[in-house]
Symmetry: C2
Subunit: 337 residues, 2 copies
């Protein structure tokens, strides 16, 4: 018996914004799992900004995606056939072979997760997954958040940004400010996520809006955007402010070198610390993350909206849309029920 | 009895590179020192890059210089009349009222220093003064230098840069690379200061020359220059490299916002840490600095060349020249013998 898997392959490396033709839906027969393997039917798969980097041909901190092969990415699925007694059929698992309907994988690369009641499977791709972990590591370890800090989060209506803002509040920030790309997202930050102030970065220069939202300056900046957001944060920073640099989505689709902040000398005069980071570098902190954050998510003190796209065949469009801001909260693709 | 002091006043705020007309030599009668005051005849005064910032009208980390008043700055002088028995006439002191022939100052703001044998008074303005302290704090505390690091120092033929390179070597760097602005300075770095590699940043793009000088990348960058040097250092950085940002002399005379590095996203992918700093923030480290560095200077293991200009009236020219690279090592002005 074999299983027909549908997979999204990268067939061309995007120049500028990805287009549907960079991807192809391919069917493949998967054999039954061997000893120590699992066959998993995916429920939801993740599309994340970092994947844009892997579509380019250069190595950054991970290898690029191969052409004409299924892409990797976070996914939650159900074991359909098992070669490992620790993972009986029916077990829900988190694993790294997304972008496909079914995955054959070593049991050691899967982690069982609890899906109870109305908890959506996607929570392990969002609030309790890589985005939540990224927000936690960046805010607590890299920016060294302290009680009473004023915190600015860019791209705050995204998965990482939304978690960063809420965690800042949970850990005692005095004031949490977010930027996002539409009035609807701004309302979401204020009304749903409890930000103290938020602004639409498309409505007026970031520098002006941030100065207005942070009249006493900022102590921490969580950067998902780069470019003019980073420049504005430097301009608005208080002495000894700490920046956690997580991403630069403003530049991911750029074909020219991005415009850069022209006020970097203020890093000296204000004694700023800028720290770039990657969530995977700190696996020893994951236990602390679950201990601190899972209860808050379970109790609803922290919430992360999902933007759900149905159907594996729509995953490329979901990804393309997410890169240009088409999501609120975590963008996931529902692959099966 | 009074003393006629000659003082350099700032009479206009420079636009772009300072010109002699921005300064004026002014004579002033100083009264005898009162209780707790000292009258000091200056031997040498310091001209330093940071002073350019204080000539502009904006506050950065210190107040700007006032117009039509003597500028402040490091100086070593001799007590000529004393209102404090702890500072007898003839005591050599380090103090902050440079840019003048004689200074009247509170005894509490002066520090006695030893001038013995052939030690030039200027050593307290250079190797054992603010530049040496800056190099030490930046390299040890901010960049967290470790044994085996490859270290790049920009502006390495200046006072801070020369000290940073030599301290890197003393603390166990595997390879020390410097940039400077002339073939003569490059030779000085290699032949006199013991750098492993050095290049003339005017001869070819910094990025190319740094890549050639650091085939295995850099782990620490000590930045005195900013701009294209910072961009090249980011490009050449190894994962987890640490940058101490001390200054941006490439931009001090600029009238337009400087060009900025266009590769800042590499701060994320390479997990870099950039830390701006000001030497005065860490007074508690000065004891450690003298303990570690003074013996090395006394024994000649660390040397810092002086570029000496004679005559207070030439101090503005010395300053203007230093800003455009007219010095090797520490630029000082000899005011009296």
């Amino acid at each position: 018996m074999s299983t027909t898997a549908r997979e999204i392959h990268l067939v061309a490396r995007p120049e500028g914004p990805p287009v549907p033709g960079d991807f192809a839906l391919v069917e493949r027969e998967l054999p039954d799992p061997g000893q120590g393997e699992l066959l998993v039917r995916n429920l939801v798969i993740s599309v994340d900004p970092y994947m844009r980097g892997k579509m380019a041909g250069r190595r950054t901190y991970t290898d690029p995606y191969e052409l004409n092969a299924p892409m990797d990415g976070g996914s939650v699925g159900v074991v359909e056939a098992s070669g490992d007694p620790a993972f009986p059929v029916g077990t829900t698992v988190l694993h790294g072979r997304g972008w496909r309907s079914h995955a054959l994988l070593p049991a050691g690369s899967a982690r069982p997760v609890n899906i109870r009641g109305d908890v959506p499977a996607g929570i392990y791709l969002g609030a309790l997954g890589m985005p939540g972990q990224t927000a936690y590591i960046g805010l607590v370890d890299k920016a060294g958040l302290r009680e009473g800090d004023t915190v600015f989060v860019s791209g705050a209506a995204g998965a990482v940004g939304g978690m960063a803002g809420q965690l800042a509040r949970m850990y005692g920030a005095k004031r949490v400010i977010g930027s996002a790309g539409s009035p609807e997202k701004v309302a979401h930050l204020i009304d749903d996520l409890g930000f103290d102030a938020a602004f639409d970065y498309k409505a007026a220069p970031v520098r002006e809006q941030l100065a207005e939202a942070a009249p006493d300056g900022i102590d921490v900046y969580f950067d998902n955007v780069g470019g003019d957001h980073l420049e504005a944060a430097i301009e608005c920073a208080n002495d000894f402010a700490r920046f956690a640099l997580c991403g630069s989505i403003s530049g991911y689709n750029a074909t020219e070198a991005p415009k850069a902040p022209r006020n970097l000398f203020q890093i000296v005069t204000k004694r700023l610390t800028l720290r770039g980071f990657i969530v995977g570098d700190d696996p020893e902190r994951m236990g602390d993350f679950y201990r601190d954050v899972a209860p808050a998510v379970a109790e609803g003190r922290i919430t992360l909206r999902e933007t759900v796209v149905d159907g594996l065949e729509n995953a490329p469009e979901a990804f393309i849309s997410m890169l240009s801001g088409g999501n609120i909260g975590k963008m996931v693709v529902r692959v099966s029920d």
